[in-house]
Every structure is written in structure tokens, then in C-alpha cells.
Amino acid sequence: MTRRGLRLDPIGCDGHGICADLLPERITLDDWGYPIVDPSPLSDDLIGHAERAVTNCPALALRLEKVLDAAAR
């Protein structure tokens, strides 16, 4: 089955860091305040938080994209 994972546009990202507050399970900030995003498929319990992180990005640099499950690869 296909699930969704996070994708970051590194050019668009301005390092506001809101996403890391909303989804610390998958997003951490580097030493300069820019997000390091885990792109692997999100479990159902994290999807809602991921959607909030996407809609709250002031730079519109984060999105959810269909990714193949590791098992389906």
C-alpha cells in the first residue's frame, strides 16, 4: 500500500522551525535552526500532526507526498 511521507523544499524553507514543534517525532532542528525531516512513511497516528506541520509552514516549504512502504519496495 502507499502511505505518505514528508518532503521539504530546502530552497523555500526559511528555518522558522514551527514544524519541529508540531512534529518532533519526525522533524528536528539542526545547529542553524533548519529542519531535518525524516522522509519515511508516516504511521496513521502521526498523519494529523504532519498535516498541521504542513499547513502551518509560513514558507509553504513542507508537503506530504505518497511514498512506497519499505515492505512494498
Binding site: P10, G15, D30
Partner: protein, 423 residues
């Protein structure tokens, strides 16, 4: 002194001889550059049309700009795109140590131009563009003369700024679309020049393609190894007696290449240029010019630069200067690249200056890991590989710097030209 390689010395190592096509391994750089000599030696370019894609596939040709992507897959992707297509030959060669593309354009311009024509027929392109870096009169003149000889008035020649990052595939497309030449997230094979499907290939790749079109995959594979067929151009630099451009068959030992260029007691070898890795000499000399052999040590051939550091050279000074070059080369678009490369340059510079702070090497390790994969292009990945391997290979000298004990002279073996400022 900034010792920049010149494109004067060219040699060919001896290898197996093939019966058809140019003999031996002098495939790309053999013979005078004029059109009649070119045609007399190689014959006219046959029109293979889209069949060339299958020939390139069978030949196992891979890109020579650094990434090593299979050429047939790139051709197929562009040919499958909708609407009129564009072919861009990338001869910008902004990697400071590399001079093989400039040499190829000066020595064998018609082979590159043949490759552009063959690729344009294969993907049915109606626009052909050759990009070369500004400020290389010899290259410019060779191309101008060759185009006049062919009576080719439709090939567009574009002078790109002297700035490494603008030669990156998507950045070059940005430049050709009237932008400043910064990397984008567009994929050129889909959304390239004028938003058309665009093939961006390195000029050496296209020269090989012109030979595959003439002599076929079996001839192409008659030198090299099954996994890495054919020949490749190398730029040998640093502490070697005869720096310059060498055409070698894949699979040749690095020891043989270095012996040919002449080396003294070698400490370390930079394999793959500024986007490659440092290897201790004893390891480097046990490897061959092939993906498998180099890949076992996380190295690759990249754009074919091999640079040597000997005992009589301060390597940390070289690391610090190239780290600064990386920081200056950032297009300033991606946060981890903009700030990460700046801090990496500062930390490497502090080590060179003799800062006793034991955290500096640890900072370099932490930040190389942190910037990798974080850019729209591979600039931060290149800096990471160069510095992380450099910190390991030159650990002893770094300790000497921290103790204020390095007595090796700074010979500035690795050139670091200042990138042309952004408009």
C-alpha cells in the same frame, strides 16, 4: 602561488588495442583538431536516430560530469518527454582542479560537436546549446573555428559565469532561462530550457557518445572492464611531476597512473576532486580506476580529478582553503548549505590557524554529517565528503596544528578561484 593546471600536457597510457575505430586508448584526444583530419581519422558521423539510445545502453556509457548517471537512461527520459526538446552540452567545468573538458574542447572539438548532433537526433531536439565557462579564450577559439569549419550556424554557444555552482545541471538550465544560474528543484529532463524536456550532458560524455554512434558498443567495450567499459579522461594534479590530462582505460591501477605522472613519497590522494574523498596513499595505490574498487572506500571517480599530497606540503592549509571555497560557492539558497558551509570553513580555518580547541575537529565531523543531503543540489554533500575524509586522513597533522607544531610549507597545491559574484 595559485598553481592552476594548464591544458598543455596530454598523454595516453598504453592499453589493449582494438581493431575498429581509434586504436588503443587514445580515443578522445588523438589527432589534430581540424575537421578534415577528424573526418579522415574517424569517418563521418552516421545518423543512428533513436537507436543511439540502445547503443549507449549496450555500451554501458555513463556521465562524465561527476554523477556517473547512465547516459542511455537520461537520453530515454528526455526522448519520452512531450514537445520539442533541447540538448545542452555542459563544458563549463567549474571544478577548480579539472581541465579535461577544456582540453577536450581544444583538442577534439569536432568529437564533442558530433556528440551534440548525435544526441539531438536521438532525442529529436530542435535546439542545441554548448555552454563553456567565460574567460577561456583557447576553448572559445577552438569552438569558433570548429563551428565555422562545419558551417554550423545554429548551435548556440553560451558563456557561463566563472562560478562552480552555475555548472550544476539545474543551475545551468536556470541560467539559460535568463536566471542567475542557481540550482532549482526542477528536473531538466522534464522542465528544462524554456520549460522543455532538456538533455544536459557533459562534453566528455557526448564525445564518447559520438564514438559509440560510429563504432558501436562492442568496440566501446573492447577496453576497460565489464562493469566500467571504455576509457576516461583524468586530470592529475597536486604534487605530481607532470600534471595534466590523461586518457586511461577503466580498470587501470591508480598506482600505474600515479607512476606515469611521477610522484615522490605520497601521503594522500584526493580521488574525484573537490567532490571526492581523501584516501591514504597506501590504500589509494591498491585501487583501480573503477566504481567497484573506489566504491569499496566510499570514493568515486567523479569528474576524473586525482590530486596528490606529498610529505612536503601542509595539507591542513589546503583543507582550510577548499573549505572556504565551498562556503563561497554556496548559492545561499538552502539553510544547511549557507550556514553549515560557513561554519565548516570557520572550524577548518581555526584548526589551520593552530587553535588548540579540541572541539574543532569534532565540530567538523558533526557538521559534515549534518549538511549531507540537505541541499537542493549536491554542494553540501561534496563539502562533507571532502572535509570528513580530510579530517580522518590528516588526523596526525591536525594534532600537530593544534599543538602549534606543523612545519610543512603551504604550497597551495589546490587552486581556489573566487566565484564570480551573483548579479
Amino acid at each position: 602561488m595559485n598553481r592552476t593546471l594548464t591544458a598543455e600536457r596530454t598523454e595516453t597510457l598504453v592499453g589493449p588495442v582494438s581493431a575498429v575505430g581509434p586504436a588503443g586508448v587514445a580515443r578522445l584526444l588523438d589527432g589534430p583538431p581540424d575537421l578534415s583530419s577528424h573526418v579522415a581519422r574517424l569517418g563521418r558521423l552516421p545518423d543512428r536516430g533513436a537507436q543511439l539510445i540502445d547503443l549507449a545502453q549496450a555500451a554501458g556509457l555513463t556521465g562524465r560530469g561527476g554523477a556517473g548517471f547512465p547516459t542511455a537512461r537520461k537520453l530515454s527520459a528526455v526522448a519520452a518527454g512531450a514537445g520539442p526538446r533541447v540538448v545542452v552540452a555542459n563544458g563549463t567545468e567549474g571544478e577548480p582542479l579539472s581541465a579535461k573538458d577544456k582540453t577536450l574542447l581544444v583538442r577534439s572539438p569536432h568529437l564533442v560537436l558530433d556528440g551534440i548532433d548525435a544526441a539531438a537526433r536521438a532525442v529529436r531536439a530542435n535546439r542545441r546549446i554548448l555552454c563553456i565557462e567565460r574567460g577561456n579564450p583557447a576553448v572559445h577559439e577552438a569552438v569558433r573555428i570548429a563551428l565555422a569549419e562545419r558551417n554550423d550556424r545554429r548551435l548556440e554557444v553560451v558563456l557561463a559565469p566563472r562560478r562552480y555552482i552555475s555548472g550544476q545541471e539545474a543551475a545551468l538550465v536556470d541560467l539559460l532561462n535568463g536566471g542567475p544560474g542557481r540550482p532549482t528543484l526542477d528536473r531538466p529532463f522534464e522542465t528544462g530550457v524554456s520549460r522543455r524536456p532538456t538533455l544536459v550532458d557533459n562534453v566528455e560524455t557526448l564525445a564518447h557518445l559520438a564514438l559509440v554512434a560510429r563504432f558501436g558498443p562492442d568496440w566501446y567495450r573492447s577496453v576497460g572492464t565489464p562493469a566500467d567499459p571504455g576509457t576516461t579522461l583524468l586530470t592529475l594534479g597536486g604534487a605530481v611531476k607532470t600534471p595534466g590530462i590523461y586518457e586511461v582505460p577503466h580498470g587501470i591501477s591508480l598506482r600505474a597512473v600515479l607512476a606515469h605522472a611521477g610522484v615522490g613519497p605520497t601521503r594522500a590522494v584526493l580521488v574525484g576532486g573537490y567532490f571526492g574523498r581523501w584516501l591514504p596513499a597506501r590504500i589509494a595505490e591498491s585501487l583501480t580506476i573503477s566504481r567497484q574498487s573506489l566504491g569499496a572506500h566510499d570514493a568515486g571517480l567523479g569528474c576524473g580529478v586525482i590530486a596528490v599530497i606529498d610529505d612536503d606540503c601542509c595539507a591542513v592549509a589546503e583543507l582550510a582553503r577548499v573549505a572556504e571555497w565551498y562556503a563561497q560557492s554556496s548559492a545561499g539558497q538552502c539553510g544547511a548549505c549557507t550556514w553549515g558551509l560557513r561554519d565548516l570553513a570557520a572550524a577548518t580555518g581555526a584548526i589551520h590557524q593552530g587553535s588548540p580547541d579540541p572541539r574543532a575537529p569534532a565540530d567538523v565531523r558533526r557538521w559534515t554529517a549534518m549538511v549531507r543531503g540537505r541541499g537542493a543540489c549536491r554542494l553540501p554533500d561534496g563539502a562533507a565528503a571532502f572535509l570528513e575524509s580530510g579530517i580522518d586522513v590528516f588526523a596526525e597533522e591536525i594534532a600537530q596544528h593544534q599543538a602549534g607544531l606543523c612545519t610543512r610549507p603551504d604550497r597551495h597545491l589546490l587552486p581556489t578561484p573566487t566565484p564570480q559574484p551573483w548579479p
